[in-house]
Amino acid sequence: MHDWHTCDGSGRLEGNGVAAGVTRRGVMVGMGMGLLAWATPAIAQLAIDPAKRDGNVLVVVFLRGGADGLSLVVPFGDETYYRLRPNLAIQRRLTHPLDGFYGLHPSLAPLLPLYESGRMAVVHACGSQDETRSHFEAMDTMERGAAKKEGPSSGWIARYLQASEQRSDSPLRAVAFGSTMPGSLIGATGSVALESLTDYRLDIDPRSLKLLERLYAPGKDEIAEAGRRTFDVLSAMDRLNVSGYRPESGAAYPESDLGKGLRQTAQLIKAGIGLEIACLDKGGWDTHVAQGTATAGWLPTLLDDMARSLSAFDTDLGGRMDGVTVVVMSEFGRRIAENSGLGTDHGHGGVMFVLGGGVRGGRVHARWEGLEKAVGPGDLPVTTDYRDVLADVARHRLRPAATREVFAGYSPGSLGLMG
């Protein structure tokens, strides 16, 4: 059993105004006058210490519905692709070439600068061993960090969180944007699902709020500490001004769920309140019928939104992105051959993107066996286990934890994606 390396991420998120603003004084000002009288030396310190927090953040974007990896990253060097997709194949000249074999879908152009500057890597022919080609089963398998149906029922992120929890953890250590908890967080008792950051609040009268804070001020036990951290976060959230947030460097997030989610993730990261993992979803990838041309239609619309959202996130975070890694994944890729409805059916191997800090990018990692060597009903074989990708990122970005425990008994190899 090997452990993840410790990440030395301290200081990576240094010197931003919001983090420095999470002070007891800030809380008191936020709460109004009366509290000053209760301020004792015991509480005149931060519950969340910015100097101690890791500042390392993993963002997982799950494309639900089975994204067509062969359209996202086109293997223009493989003739079979053009033979089996007479109508849907994207011509080489329309793609943004990543090397002599693969090209990025035209609508993913906003990600090209990330790739070219070596901060985005692509992993192709990647996935799980799930053979059911069922959305539910395949998603469930990946979110549990398992090989296929067998294995633990809890999520891989939940097991990571449990294995690495510390007494001083932030109440917002793991956040899922959406109305429900993703499978990867099932079994994580402390994780939070938010439709909006504005949901994290306590609507009670100011006097009760002050009294409650006072009740939590003196204790030295874990719950009193956790309560004080929660007050810190509440007051930081109070000052976030979610609707009036102005992204930096002219970053323009689309008004989609993913765009909004990433914008709020950036806000949380800047607030320095101990966020470590954010889970976001983007649905709509089940393109059985009329999935679109190279430049217009269903898939290009999804891709455009995804690329602009991720690009805005990167621009907005700027230098802070050094401590942040984003993984984009989907439950499976789609059938190599197009179907009679100008769409594609459920397949097997797909594509993953890893972008942000610490990524050894500008490369497509893939063991490509050729599309003529299809598996099952005509699908791209999986030659890279998706857990090798997650583990590479996790080892670099997260706290030490036993990988065998997190990935259900699997000992992931290293793809050299990070470093």
Binding site: P152, S153, S208, K220, A226
Partner: protein
């Protein structure tokens, strides 16, 4: 209502005379470390007993405790023969999951079934007249955990709760394991239905030994796991046409009939269903099981280890051949129970103890269940076979949802749940914090914010 310190010592003296030594020590020893000084959190033994052996006191419980003393209260808790509240029974009768045979439930959605199961669990814990039965049902629900979202476990969990957990909660441990092994919910959750000759599935075999009986360091090997899996091959859920679907079935065609060897004992070939029965006999009669259960029970009630008490409990297991009541006796009358460190209330505990203390009425419906989920404990939805965690760290990340629940209940903003608006703030404080003297800061609060503050306070998070 509260006793003064002097009355306390007097009471302790009586108890001592009645043969209940721990209380005497209690009067002089401080139960909670300095760190846990919280507003008005009483250390009265009756409160501690009801907090540990049940989900906290209801109005009237403590007065009765003082009247009859510790020993008799414990006897009564152990007997658990108080007739249940008629209104509770009526509420439970309305739930399909309890009323209808599992085979007939298939028209219901998983969501509906899980909601009804949770409703039953909450109602029983809040209104049940036998607090120890409820506390131990919680314990065994975790010990023999079923993840309700592993299909189709939810449809079978109602029957599992009745026939496995509640029927044996205070009875015979080996009987409970025997019933659990053939429970369709367990056969589903731990893949017994997949376990057949030539294609063994080890899931149940492993957890039976690691979690249900011997414990992780109980001395079994990987070979034992494989052999136990072979013994249970063919134990499955009826799914044949025109048969009572959803019942336990032993399928001889799927059973591995060969000879097996489990924990050093030879199980001869051709035993059929007896193989599994024999395994249960072997593991339940294993010293590691007594040790594992003793440790876990002491930890559950005392909040920490206690080798001395554990060995008493272990002995009780041996002498009674696994009678749960006999194991609980020494724990509930121990000094350790009264002196152990505070235990964090898990969300279910927080909700139930608040409702009991305030004598609230609840339909235990969606609104309340949503709060439980936000706090991290939607009942029957822990995905791992080990049950919801007991460690404080596992729960300290979600304080905000606890506070939201507290103030929603206080303000009467929790649909389907409310307490009498006749309660004055001082009564509310007394009921929740066990102290007559409302701290100065809190005087002047109205009933709603008093209830909210008390339930949200650090002191009320512990028991």
């Amino acid at each position: 209502m509260n006793l003064s310190r002097r009355e306390w010592i007097a009471l302790a003296g009586t108890a001592l005379a009645a043969g209940c030594a721990p209380l005497a020590a209690r009067a002089t020893a401080k139960a909670q470390p300095e760190d846990f000084e919280t507003p008005g959190n009483s250390e009265e033994p009756g409160r501690r007993l009801y907090n540990r052996a049940g989900f906290g006191p209801r109005p009237g419980n403590l007065a009765r405790y003082r009247e009859q003393g510790h020993a008799r209260t414990v006897e009564q808790l152990l007997r658990a023969d108080e007739p249940e509240d008629a209104a509770l029974m009526m509420q439970l009768m309305r739930l399909d999951v309890l009323r209808v045979d599992p085979a007939e439930l298939h028209d219901l959605k998983e969501e509906t079934i899980l909601a009804q199961l949770q409703q039953a669990a909450i109602l029983r814990a809040v209104y049940g007249r036998n607090p120890l039965l409820e506390r131990m049902s919680e314990f065994w629900t975790d010990h023999l955990n079923i993840f309700g979202k592993k299909r189709p476990a939810a449809w079978h969990k109602g029957a599992d709760e009745t026939k496995v957990v509640r029927r044996h909660a205070l009875g015979s441990f080996p009987e409970m394991v025997r019933e659990s092994a053939r429970s369709p919910a367990m056969l589903t959750f731990l893949d017994g239905t997949q376990n057949q000759k030539g294609q063994p599935n080890e899931n149940y075999a492993r957890e039976l030994m690691e979690l249900h009986t011997l414990g992780v360091d109980g001395g079994y090997t990987q070979d034992d796991v494989m052999e136990v899996a072979r013994c249970f091959s063919g134990w499955t859920v009826e799914d044949r046409f025109l048969r009572p679907r959803g019942r336990f079935r032993f399928d001889p065609d799927r059973h591995d009939a060969g000879e097996k060897r489990v924990l050093g004992t030879r199980i001869p070939a051709g035993g059929g269903i007896e193989d599994g029965e024999k395994v249960i006999e072997i593991v339940c009669a294993h010293p590691a099981t007594a040790r594992h259960l003793a440790r876990k029970l002491v930890r559950k009630f005392v909040g920490t280890e206690s080798p001395k008490l554990e060995s008493q409990v272990e002995k009780a297991y041996w002498e009674s051949r696994g009678e749960i009541r006999e194991m609980l006796g020494p724990i509930l009358t121990s000094r350790e129970l009264l002196e152990g460190p505070p235990i964090l209330k898990r969300p279910f505990d927080l909700v139930v103890s608040a409702l009991r203390a305030l004598d609230a009425t609840t339909d235990a419906g969606n609104a309340l269940q949503d709060h439980l989920e936000a706090m991290g404990q939607p009942i029957y939805q822990w995905p791992m076979p080990d049950g919801y965690p007991v460690e404080t760290d596992a729960w300290s990340g979600s304080m905000l949802p606890r506070w939201r629940f507290a103030f929603a209940l206080g303000a009467g903003a929790l649909r389907g749940t409310s307490f009498s608006d006749g309660l004055v703030p001082a009564t509310i404080y007394q009921a929740l914090m066990g102290d007559d003297r409302v701290p100065l800061d809190l005087s002047g609060q109205d009933a709603a914010s008093m209830a909210g503050l008390c339930i949200a306070s650090p002191g009320f998070q512990w028991r």
